[in-house]
Symmetry: C2
Subunit: 308 residues, 2 copies
């Protein structure tokens, strides 16, 4: 019933919650345990415009929920869990799920009657990362090489407004796994290595704008106050790479560098995460060198693709 314990990673999903107000997180014993309902509450910076398509919003939120929850439960998510987590009546959840199933975005295991992402979701993702200058196609090889040479976990982080989203993740061959960041997780810019690399690449005025935009959301990240972030940005700019030295989760370190698109705008970041012990000065510099090489590879790939 509950090996579902989120392994110590904070699930923070790119969800625009139906309700806007960032509900005051009620700690529940274990500090690392935050229910996915909190995840939902984590609204976007777009101040919840009450556009005229709320059922669609709700449907997509539910789709995201299925995605995130099924990530940690190989068997799929149960209806009751979805209703609990989404905090909506069961009938509504089921109705929406039916629609998603019918469209192929979600599939329901005929035996266990649990829900998980369907074929159409995979197809959509394939199409999303395929087109032209999309990062997906360009990043694959780099991520594989990075995780290979480092034996650690490599990430592709992209910017989304004032936030950074983990878009891809590649496990290395080594035995050490890092569960601090999973695909879909979202944090304010500056929180995490890739995220910090992105923030540091912005001009000063944008940094300030981002910091004020995420000020409220950063209540959840007590270690990342404005001053700390400013300091981190300065350090990253000076060093040419971003270092996450365990501020987010103690002992979980990472280094990241920014990736620029054809117009030299920072659009993504490559990072490698591991445990503190494996990021001594020496190894760190080796890793940064590889990271920068791969970032450059991606940059030229992006440039080449958008030329013609």
């Amino acid at each position: 019933m509950d090996r579902c314990e989120v392994v110590g990673s904070l699930l923070i999903m790119v969800l625009m919650s139906a309700d806007a107000e960032p509900r005051p997180l009620r700690e529940r014993g274990n500090l690392a345990r935050r229910s996915a309902s909190w995840t939902i509450a984590h609204a976007t910076e777009t101040g919840a415009e009450p556009a005229g398509a709320q059922s669609i919003q709700r449907a997509l939120v539910l789709l995201n929920l299925v995605a995130v929850l099924a990530r940690d439960r190989p068997g799929g998510v149960s209806l009751s869990e979805l209703t609990r987590v989404s905090e909506r009546p069961k009938a509504s959840v089921r109705r929406v799920l039916l629609a998603l199933v019918q469209a192929g975005y979600v599939e329901q295991d005929p035996e266990t009657s649990r829900y998980r992402l369907g074929l159409q979701a995979a197809v959509l993702g394939e199409l999303a990362s395929q087109g032209a200058d999309r990062l997906g196609a360009v990043s694959t090889d780099s991520l594989i090489r990075l995780s290979d040479v480092s034996s650690d976990t490599a990430f592709l982080t992209v910017r989304h407004g004032s936030y950074a989203v983990c878009a891809r993740r590649q496990e290395g061959p080594g035995p050490i796994r890092n569960y601090a960041l999973a695909v879909g997780d979202r944090h304010p810019l500056g929180v995490g290595a890739g995220s910090l690399a992105l923030l540091s690449a912005l001009p000063d005025d944008e940094v300030a704008a981002v910091l004020s935009a995420t000020a409220a959301a950063r209540a959840q990240y007590p270690r990342f106050d404005d001053e700390t972030l400013h300091r981190l940005v300065r350090r990253s700019r000076k060093a040419g790479y971003a270092l996450n030295d365990g501020l987010f989760i103690a002992g979980s370190w990472a280094v990241g560098v920014v990736v620029r698109d054809a117009d030299d705008r920072p659009v993504a970041a490559l990072s490698v995460a591991t445990i503190a012990e494996r990021l001594g000065r020496q190894r760190r510099e080796e890793l940064v060198e590889v990271l920068q090489r791969e970032a450059e590879t991606m940059h030229t790939a992006l440039t080449r693709r958008t030329q013609p």
Copy 2:
């Protein structure tokens, strides 16, 4: 205004159209030119149950449309084109698009104001192909190897009801490109190499069931009558692989083999497509050998993953 000509591939998308009746395709000059509106009309075998979530259905259809159309237009799709193709009032389309944009599944180019798939779509796909025994993760390496050694285009096709959907596609390094099949395209089982491999792997009664289920839809595929398909199935079973010798698009040939999951059920197919000249008996057999090896690799990967 119209370099948008679909390059000669038939777009057939996995869409459950809002309206059910498979509208009588009006040929319009060029025989290979079928407007995407036809694409939509191509309803699923699920006979359009009028479930209580029509706005969601419509939204997802529109999302699919953005995906398919943006595939051929690197810049994105214009609002007017979406309204034309979806055959709904502009206001409605726009309202839904706004919702999709707000949710991050679609993004709008601030300069050209065209729409294309957004970040969330990529994240969703990543999560969809990531989990446990998902084919996405397992197929990547095989597809890359296949396209590498063949210098042609490699495909992963999965079964969806009585249809086959192209789930992934990997271009080879060679100069020859095959546009007969793109990610998201859907054809009745039996039409195409991978699709035929899947069909041939089914027991006789299921083959019969599939054929009768797709009988109506196959009106669009005049070359693939029941008798022909039965013959093709027999040939494929005897040979151990499926051969598409240009029946679908003249000169476009392909070979495919089936991939079985942990329970030995046929769930997908690997195939390589190229031009007729590059599929002589000799080369064909070499390719089949490689295909079978990769299918076996995927099978063991799928088995291993679902054991614990």
